[in-house]
Symmetry: C2
């Protein structure tokens, strides 16, 4: 029986998570492009978590949490609230062990993300698109079902799972000097911060939309702040940093880089043009930050996901 | 000194081309997706020539032709006419050996393709967007410069080079039973036909837009026909089959599958959604044909390229 983490994950916890989830997840490839290197003035490796199962890194944390809480998941299911990628990932991870997953989603979630949760057998309840409504609805459904709540990011087992993306990248490429990671709730970034602290030596940059700048403001002021109803195109990054994520990020991240909507869109265009990898806008913040910073040297970017409504793009 | 091919390439010619170009080109990966397999009812390998250098398979044929004609290329340059991908590929291939490349492009070629030719140092002359205007302009510039003409597809050295894409795919995956390949001028498809005849055993399908259906009509009637001023969104497939390509295709292709514009667009959407690979509309014909045929078994699709104007896609 594996115990749930109640403290900041150690190096051993991250290694254990990597081993635990390895039979279920994709060891994702990294991409490079000579043209992108020219534009961003460095040697870039773009870690393709858009090719992770369920189309985002979220499969890592969800699978880790499900395996840690497997007996609870099997007896009364799991529940979460999510703008989409974590919901799909949890539904998928639960299905891997035969457990039920209840997913609370904002009513304005992208159609493709709703379809994806359904595809993996998740039971969806819609709510208003605010963090408060999500949490209230989750609590209500949780009481009705006794399902076990797995938070999208504010959870040490989730953080240990997300850390495995950076752990893989740094294990394969220990020469990485600069690392660009998108930040929303902070699951991926706090995981990256720990993996880089234990196993790497890169300067670590959190990449955040200006329209959802709680990580930047919290990082500068030293106090966690909340963002409300952000309208950024990077729909996966609208959430505020979690309580468990913030101190890890404060301690082990070098800088938060703010990106305008225009910079995010340009990063997305340049990623399509140079790497031919189809990523979601949230992932484009990492690309945009690299293009903005031009840090030189060997650099990594975590392409966090590739789920978006593609039908709005027409060829005519 | 390597002699230029004057006959249909043999198995040995294709192997020699593969060996000749190997130091210059990418051995491209194949992609798979459980979701795509469900939708297309088979086990699919999508060979990623959009990740080839210059963003398309055309780098193979161009590099082969340049290496075969290296001394002529170095003395007075090379010339070609192209809707884009062959032009960029020839400019790139010429630059690899330090030769000059003159590229005739239709005035309505996508901006990204024009930029790409320029990026590799090609000297562009624009002409009216008809096959006739392209050939007349090419002849004129050729006379002025004495550059050596390398046709985009109607050339055995080009065919042998393009054949290496299918040769690689079949060498790595000899179990492939069905193979879907886009057809425009027929360079890729005639190469695939020969590679599959010598090294494989797949049923081979040429995938063609209904709006540029010369291959279909020629295949059915047994006589090569020409298509004029096609308006298909698959801009790389507007050309008619070449004289050297047609008989090879007639002999060694099982069927030409026609795709409507809508089917091509849906194929493009499904490729983005399921594989996260950003391909150009021409490549989507192969995807669309697979989704239409649902052949079952182990199947291959040649994703022929990934070059298109991405700036028209906005995230808001």
């Amino acid at each position: 029986m594996t115990a749930s983490l109640t403290e900041v994950p150690t190096a051993q916890d991250i290694k254990a998570a990597a081993q635990r989830i390895a039979p279920y997840i994709n060891r994702t490839p990294s991409f490079s492009s000579l043209r992108f290197n020219e534009l961003a003035c460095g040697e870039y490796l773009l870690k393709g978590e858009h090719l992770q199962l369920t189309g985002a890194f979220k499969a890592r944390g969800a699978m880790n949490a499900i395996l840690v809480h497997q007996s609870k998941a099997l007896s009364s299911g799991v529940i979460t609230h999510s703008s989409g990628n974590h919901g799909a990932a949890l539904a998928w991870a639960a299905s891997q062990v035969g457990a039920k997953a209840y997913i609370i989603m904002p009513s304005n979630a992208p159609k493709s993300k709703i379809a994806s949760v359904r595809h993996y057998g998740g039971v969806i309840t819609f709510c208003e698109p605010t963090l408060e409504a999500r949490e209230t609805t989750a609590t209500r459904i949780q009481k009705e079902t006794s399902a076990y709540l797995i938070h999208p990011y504010d959870d040490y087992d989730i953080i240990a799972g997300q850390a495995t993306a950076t752990y893989e990248l740094l294990k394969d490429n220990p020469e990485i000097e600069h690392l660009f990671v998108p930040v929303g709730g902070g699951g991926l970034l706090s995981g990256a911060a720990l993996a880089n602290y234990y196993f790497g030596n890169a300067k670590l940059y959190g990449c955040e939309p200006e329209l959802a700048r709680d990580a930047y403001d919290g990082f500068v002021s030293g106090k966690r702040v909340l963002v409300k109803n952000s309208e950024t195109i990077a729909d996966g990054l609208k959430t505020s940093l979690g309580k468990k994520n913030f101190p890890i990020i404060k301690s082990h991240v070098n800088q938060i880089i703010l990106l305008t909507e225009k910079e995010i869109e340009t990063g997305w265009h340049i990623c399509l043009e140079t790497t031919k990898q189809f990523i979601e806008p949230s992932a484009a913040t990492g690309v945009a930050a690299a293009l903005k910073m031009k840090t030189k040297g060997v650099c990594g970017i975590l392409l966090c996901g590739g789920n978006m409504d593609v039908r709005k793009f027409t060829l005519r």
